[in-house]
């Protein structure tokens, strides 16, 4: 039974007359950047839902993906990944009241351009379409992936001076998406080869540390859980927790942020890292200790959950709220689905009670992996009419109507060229719903 309701808030205007791929909220400003197949990036205000800037003239083909650089001071830095195989870096001075802005040696029409995003450098190297681009949470690294099956990691040594630190060629097919772990320099990539791969720096080389096989079709999008979500999601409500629930929370803490993935196989899955320290004895886990590497950087990621299947076509995008832990998915069937994680009811349920007994006896409980369950909290059909929805993302609500500082909206991006904002509201349970 749904407990949330997705309601239309606004359609960002003007809409594009060609397909839009992805919309990414600015890390600090009330802005959202939309990657568009008309070779532009459109930057909208999240306060007025209107177009502020159209970044054009850089790419020769569709801009497929964008990423805002985190922690920038006095300027906004946007990275764009395009089907023209190049990535662009764009800057715009954000003029705060204290900003001393000097201009010299520039002619008049350039002065007007100060308002615009300035192209500042290009990253060449991929042979084919770039599918995804994303800054690491520290802003030190930029990851790109491409149809050329490779994942590149770039390091910005100083402004506009990028170095290629790794070219990872583990995937056998088109790489659809890259994502960074929120706390560690750990990169994940998802591919048409149905796998998710994780990479980490070992000595001075980035190497694959894990390959997750679990989806049976193309993995379109991956996203890590936010940092410190234990304080915000279902785990936040303390008190009256059972022994094993407390153990489960501890396990999640040691695992760190989880990874969500969505696929052509119409499923959304959650993956959790097996904690390394004491994994062999304390938890009595069956994992065979690595005989291959003496000092292993390998990680083991296990399936934590398969979310209820509500999409009947490709799921293109997922977004894991940093505020609430709610997960949103969208895809080819035009639906937006919101999922919520909660404790499984244990006492009243005879099936899980057996698992509890095992834990009490000190033997590993298979059911421990399923201490929680994901339920569908809201569903919205035909979010973009008959069109596919390419992307949906949680964003901070900034318009006048917002009800609290923490309120979040969902912004969806569709094949119809529209970018839509949606509110997510609690609904009173109704009989027969």
């Amino acid at each position: 039974m749904s407990s949330l309701q997705i309601q239309p808030l606004a359609t960002l205007s003007p809409p594009s007359n060609s397909r839009c791929w992805q919309s990414v909220p600015h890390p600090s400003q009330p802005l959202i950047a939309t990657a568009c197949s008309d070779k532009t990036v459109r930057v909208f205000s999240l306060t007025s839902f209107t177009l502020l800037h159209s970044i054009s003239g850089g790419h020769k083909r569709s801009v497929r993906s964008v990423s805002w650089k985190p922690h920038t001071k006095g300027q906004s830095v946007l990275a764009t990944g395009s089907f023209d195989a190049s990535a662009g870096i764009w800057r715009r001075v954000e003029r705060g009241p204290e900003e001393d802005f000097t201009r010299h040696g520039r002619d008049d029409d350039e002065e007007e351009d100060d308002e615009d995003y300035q192209f500042s450098c290009i990253l060449d190297g991929h042979e084919h379409e770039i599918k995804s681009i994303v800054w690491s949470p520290s802003g030190q690294y930029l990851a790109t992936c491409s149809r050329d099956k490779s994942v590149w990691i770039w390091e910005e040594l100083e402004d506009d001076n990028f170095e290629t630190v790794a070219v990872l060629q583990e995937h056998d097919q088109d790489v659809k998406c890259v994502a960074w772990h929120p706390e560690e320099d750990l990169l994940a990539s998802a591919s048409y080869d149905d796998t998710i791969r994780l990479y980490r720096e070992d000595q001075d080389d980035w190497v694959q540390v894990c390959c997750i096989n679990g989806h049976s079709e193309t993995v379109w999008c991956i996203e890590f859980e936010g940092s410190g979500m234990g304080e915000k999601d279902f785990r936040a409500q303390k008190g009256e927790l059972s022994e094993e629930q407390i153990q489960h929370i501890e396990l999640l803490e040691r695992s760190g942020p989880r990874l969500a993935s969505c696929s052509d196989d119409s499923t959304v899955r959650i993956w959790r890292r097996q904690p390394k320290e004491g994994a062999d004895h304390a938890n009595g886990h069956a994992g065979v200790p690595s005989i291959i590497r003496s000092f292993s950087v390998d990680e083991e990621w296990v399936e934590d959950a398969v979310l209820p299947q509500r999409h009947d076509r490709v799921i293109y995008s997922i977004s894991w709220s940093r505020k609430s832990g709610l997960l949103a998915s969208t895809g080819s069937d035009g639906k937006i689905v919101i999922y919520k994680e909660r404790w499984k009811e244990q006492i009243s349920n005879g099936v899980t009670a057996a698992g509890v007994d095992k834990v009490v006896n000190g033997i590993e409980a298979p059911s421990r992996h399923r201490m929680t369950e994901w339920v569908v909290a809201a569903e919205l059909y035909s979010a973009h009419d008959v069109f596919e929805v390419n992307h949906a993302v949680w964003a901070k609500r900034c318009d006048k109507g917002r009800r609290s500082d923490d309120e979040e909206i969902i912004v969806s991006t569709g094949d119809d060229g529209e970018v839509k904002a949606w509110t997510v509201e609690e609904v009173k349970p109704q009989a027969g719903g």
Partner: protein, 624 residues
């Protein structure tokens, strides 16, 4: 589902244009699986996917060898070069023995004979010659736990010995000569140092009579970049044409060996190039591509080349260590049981020209010192050449961002004489290439130029440093040529040893996919074998940096200016002029080659008629 789906954006799907040559290399051993998904375009992809994953370090080179670099025509040429090709050629032709004794010709007579030999005669016999890279010997040495010299002897025994290929086959054909490419490399090293000197010389005029930037008669721009690595050349020609003016014009040791053999034997001893069959055994699949270059054929050096004759390649076939083992087993020869001793000197057939014979078959074999690195030691030789010319100068080494980048500078007191660097591996090549790009080119055309908010720019300074190098030894493979794509991989070691019927020497048996540690350990052993032939002390097992100290006295000692690193410049110069003299070919045509921008149609979609019509229709407001 989408109503506005347009052909322009059908890019989330693999198209046949993105075929990779990796499958070509592996297809013979792994036929495509039949259960491939109909939606996936190439069955080759599945052949690749179904194999155990290539260790990460090695697979980095694959990007250099993939779709963007190889046209289908080239792919066919590469495919033709296999151990089967070697076997069928040996079976099709008897060995041509000492033909120069039969006709003692001169330059003048050559062309007549060449034209006369059209047809039947050509088919009769071939003079089989092989050249073997030191990295291949090192790979086999590590595999069979023998010394590099012994591995070389085993190869000689296979190719020329009584118990080798000669023992079977239709004609009992075998190889008349087996040449160590290290020997010919000495000529490359001296010429490379000369090339750097001419580039750095103040009165250099970088103009070309033919007018294109990669031409044979241009002096390369500083920094000169090594051109001996075919993967790198392939990538540069197809992806970074702006780099071509920097490429060394020098032929690789493989190519130079071919030119030397074919030019001398044809111009002086009347063996037409087409009757000389030159096999190279190399650490690298991309050497097959190099052998297929139209620049490296008889056309380049035959005077008065008759265009009605097909150009003959300087290197007819390239195989790798693994393929050499296939070659042996195809003739039921167990490579591991071949004698490890050298061939008896009585059976040696001298090269007809005594000077070149002395050059090609010196009594003492020399190998690279550890400091020269695993890829032939170009940069090191250049440094040492400059050091010899500047008494009292010192070489200092500074490690780069990773193990595959090292920067060297030669200083005399406070004065910097020359700076060089080593850039191995694809990711480092990216940074090198980016550093060499003129600033303007790196901007997106048509975009509004941003104004750098940081004046002056320390980034500009960082880019300058790459341009400051006189020479950069560029190799596509991380770890250099001993880690070449054609070397026996750590994952193959047990399998090959089992096939050869030998036990693993170490008790460690790798289970499943070997990890990075095993990879590095295997590479260390190949490196150890590679450097073991050195007449200086053998490789320190702990790695490179430690070796600088004990070597320092040797490195910085006073050296005879002529003899650099054991190679006499004047001897090499004399040999080259002798070569040019007896063949009547200019040294430029013998030693140098050219590069060209290659236009790839990969990724540039060719519009089909349907798409064009559809485009027109939608432009007119219509639609399908």
């Amino acid at each position: 589902m989408s109503a506005i789906l347009s052909a322009d954006d059908l890019n989330d799907f693999i198209s046949p244009g993105v075929a990779c040559i990796k499958p070509i290399e592996t297809l013979p051993a792994h036929p495509p699986e039949s259960n491939s998904n109909a939606y996936e375009v190439t069955t080759e992809e599945h052949a690749t996917a179904s194999q155990p994953r290539t260790p990460a370090q090695i697979s980095l080179t694959d990007c250099l060898a993939c779709s963007g670099c190889v046209t289908s025509a080239e792919a066919v040429l590469v495919q033709l070069q296999s151990h089967n090709e070697v076997l069928s050629t040996l079976d099709a032709h008897p060995s041509l023995r000492t033909p120069w004794l039969a006709h003692n010709g001169t330059n003048g007579k050559l062309n007549n004979i060449l034209n006369g030999v059209n047809g039947h005669y050509q088919q009769e016999g071939k003079l089989f010659v092989a050249s073997v890279s030191p990295q291949t010997r090192a790979s086999l040495a590590a595999l069979f736990s023998v010394s590099e010299v012994e591995a070389g002897n085993m190869i000689n025994q296979l190719l020329s010995g009584a118990s080798g290929l000669r023992a079977s086959g239709v004609h009992g054909s075998d190889f008349t000569w087996v040449i160590d490419t290290n020997i010919v490399r000495e000529a490359c090293l001296v010429a490379a140092a000369d090339e750097v000197a001419s580039t750095l010389s103040p009165d250099v005029t970088p103009s070309s009579s033919t007018g294109f930037e990669g031409a044979i008669d241009t002096t390369p721009k500083q920094p000169i970049l090594t051109s001996a690595c075919p993967g790198w050349i392939c990538y540069a020609e197809k992806t970074h044409p702006e780099i071509l003016p920097h490429l060394s014009r020098l032929k690789s040791p493989q190519a130079l060996t071919g030119t030397l053999l074919k030019s001398v034997l044809s111009q002086r001893y009347n063996v037409p190039p087409s009757q000389i069959w030159h096999l190279a055994i190399m650490p690298c699949f991309d050497k097959k591509l190099e052998a297929s270059r139209s620049e490296l054929t008889s056309t380049a050096w035959l005077p008065n080349h008759d265009t009605t004759h097909d150009p003959v390649r300087d290197v007819d076939c390239v195989i790798t260590a693994r393929e050499l083992l296939h070659l042996a087993s195809a003739r039921n020869i167990s490579f591991s049981s071949l004698p490890r001793s050298p061939l008896p000197s009585s059976s040696r057939i001298p090269f007809p020209d005594p000077s070149i014979d002395a050059f090609l078959f010196p009594p003492r074999r020399k190998n690279q010192s550890v400091l020269a690195g695993p890829s032939g030691g170009y940069m090191y030789h250049i440094l040492r050449t400059y050091q010899a010319q500047h008494p009292g100068s010192e070489i200092s080494e500074s490690p780069g961002r990773n193990a595959d980048v090292v920067v060297y500078s030669l200083t005399q007191g406070s004065k910097s004489i020359i700076k060089t660097a080593r850039y191995y591996g694809f990711r480092n090549i990216q940074n090198l290439v980016r550093g060499l790009k003129p600033a303007k080119v790196s901007k997106l055309p048509g975009a509004r130029m941003g104004v750098s908010r940081r004046p002056g720019g320390s980034s500009a300074a960082a880019r300058e440093s790459v341009k400051d190098y006189a020479y950069v030894e560029v190799m596509a493979c991380p770890g250099g040529c001993t880690n070449g794509g054609g070397q026996i991989k750590v994952s193959e070691v047990e399998e090959v040893r089992a096939l050869e019927g030998i036990q693993s020497v170490n008790r460690e048996t790798t289970v499943g996919r070997p990890g990075l540690t095993e990879q590095k350990e295997w590479l260390r052993r190949v490196d150890e074998a590679y450097f073991s032939g050195s007449d200086e002390e053998s490789a320190d097992e702990d790695g490179d940096l430690n070796m600088v100290e004990p070597e320092a006295s040797k490195l910085n000692g006073l050296l005879d200016e002529d003899v650099v690193n054991g190679i006499s410049r004047s001897y090499i110069h004399n040999m080259i002029s002798h070569w040019s003299g007896i063949t009547g070919v200019s040294t430029q045509d013998l030693l140098y080659t050219s590069y060209r921008k290659v236009e790839s149609d990969v990724g540039k979609k060719k519009q089909s008629d349907v798409e064009r019509v559809a485009g027109l229709a939608s432009a007119l407001g219509g639609g399908w």
